[in-house]
Homo-oligomer: 321 residues x 2
Amino acid sequence: MTIMKGLWLEDGALAFKDDLPYPEISGEEALIRVNLAGICATDLELLHGYYAYCGIPGHEFVGEVISAPANPALQGKRVVGEINIACGVCDYCMSGRRTHCVNRTVLGIRNRPGAFADYLSLPISNLYVVPEGLKDEIAVFCEPLAAALQIQEQIHVQPGDRVLLVGAGRLGILIAQTLALTGCDLIVLARYPQQQAILKSFKISVVDHNAIPDQSQDLVVEATGTAEGFTIANQAVRSGGTIVLKSTYKGNTTVNFSQLVVREIRLIGSRCGPFAPALRMLANGLVNPLPLIDSTMALEVGISAFERAAQSGVLKVMIKP
Amino acid sequence: MTIMKGLWLEDGALAFKDDLPYPEISGEEALIRVNLAGICATDLELLHGYYAYCGIPGHEFVGEVISAPANPALQGKRVVGEINIACGVCDYCMSGRRTHCVNRTVLGIRNRPGAFADYLSLPISNLYVVPEGLKDEIAVFCEPLAAALQIQEQIHVQPGDRVLLVGAGRLGILIAQTLALTGCDLIVLARYPQQQAILKSFKISVVDHNAIPDQSQDLVVEATGTAEGFTIANQAVRSGGTIVLKSTYKGNTTVNFSQLVVREIRLIGSRCGPFAPALRMLANGLVNPLPLIDSTMALEVGISAFERAAQSGVLKVMIKP
């Protein structure tokens, strides 16, 4: 058996290992060498027990297909990959909702070794070929950008809408860019000067909390994952408006349901999104993720990379095997 | 000054009075003699401090226009009335969302004497003339039926949808009838034998809690106003599905936001609805509220009427001035 390097999560502790089993692939899967992988908030939450996951973490990646027996034409191609591996036969799969497959495994999150390693495997049907000329440093953002676009898969953001984004972290800045493309009247609450500077470089309005009138926003996207963020969202949204929950939340949140009823507020949970449009938007430059990159570190110092990513205000830390 | 009979709510205590001030009307208002008024859950909650309302309660009514200076043709007409009195100039009003007017008064709920009295006043623009031949006993259900229809103003219930209604009280049975008209696969959790019997008389399926598979419903309407009802709704809704909150809730409810996010659930608060279609559906017999009527009592024994309405399983108690 061939072995490889990778990060290993077990009981909330992360370790670097150089003797991890090499992925074995079934007939419909591809073996992929990881070129670059990004650390996201969910990875950090996994260390704190968000899911009881044991294995190699990491789900944002770009890599090269080493072997794909069922489709040899893929060999040598650079790819990104949809992280939900669906069974194809449950009610969700049969009704076209594969990301909600009840039997799904999720790359680096649930019962499926992830991307912080030399190699990973995914079903061929999960792969999207990266256009030539699109750099790894950009293509690696396909998964979080897809998550940002899921908001617009779920709700219709109109050009005339007043929209508030609460939080401008790794995912928030991608969300801000996608929302700005609708022509909506977008304002963003960003905590850190660096976040504010990036948003301003994109001509996106950064506002102070006190400058947001109560009940003024048609749509609020809550991307902080905190009770405080939800309180701000609830205050800013107009009656009859929508709050999208777009983050990982710890524990339970207290909600005044009567207020939701009287003000007829919509609360929408939002998770994974569509890869094809995300890849298009990266390829044609509609979204520019490069300012998000904080640093790129080797797999061998992956634990330091996680420590760096966990610091307040730090944006995207990449791991390069 | 002329005086009239009515119920009076103050500091959570209800009293019958025979010396209440007669409504004075402004130029754009009509004076209406109340024929019949219904007690709903919100009225019962007002007694428990849902709003700090002091005055005449009651907002479901049918009555006769005694005087309408700005539109004398209305005189003698039977009417029902939209309960939100909007300012017409705030942002909500200007964008067509008058039920969310920030300056609104609400008949019998907020800063506006209500229907449990001999007379009430409302702006002429709030009135809907009841078609001849439509009995008071039916027309009086226009307001709660409008609230039931609000669900379909907010979301598109498709004929192929699997829909669960949790709770079959006064409002629930009206909701059940409106949902059944879409052709959807509707099942209802009804607690009391009488509720079950009414639903069955409408050929609506009543189910046992244990018979609802987890994550099986495209839409769940929560109409119990309890944390237990929400738990059931949350369990029954499919990922990517919708929960409509259609009741008055006491205090705060604890929600696992990460579950909402991972399962991409939509939570929608729903309140007042459109009167015109409600009146059409009562007039053409698409909805039959008559089996809901528990009893009709005189204004003088209004306190007994409230006591009766507060008993478990009792449906609609009417007050007749």
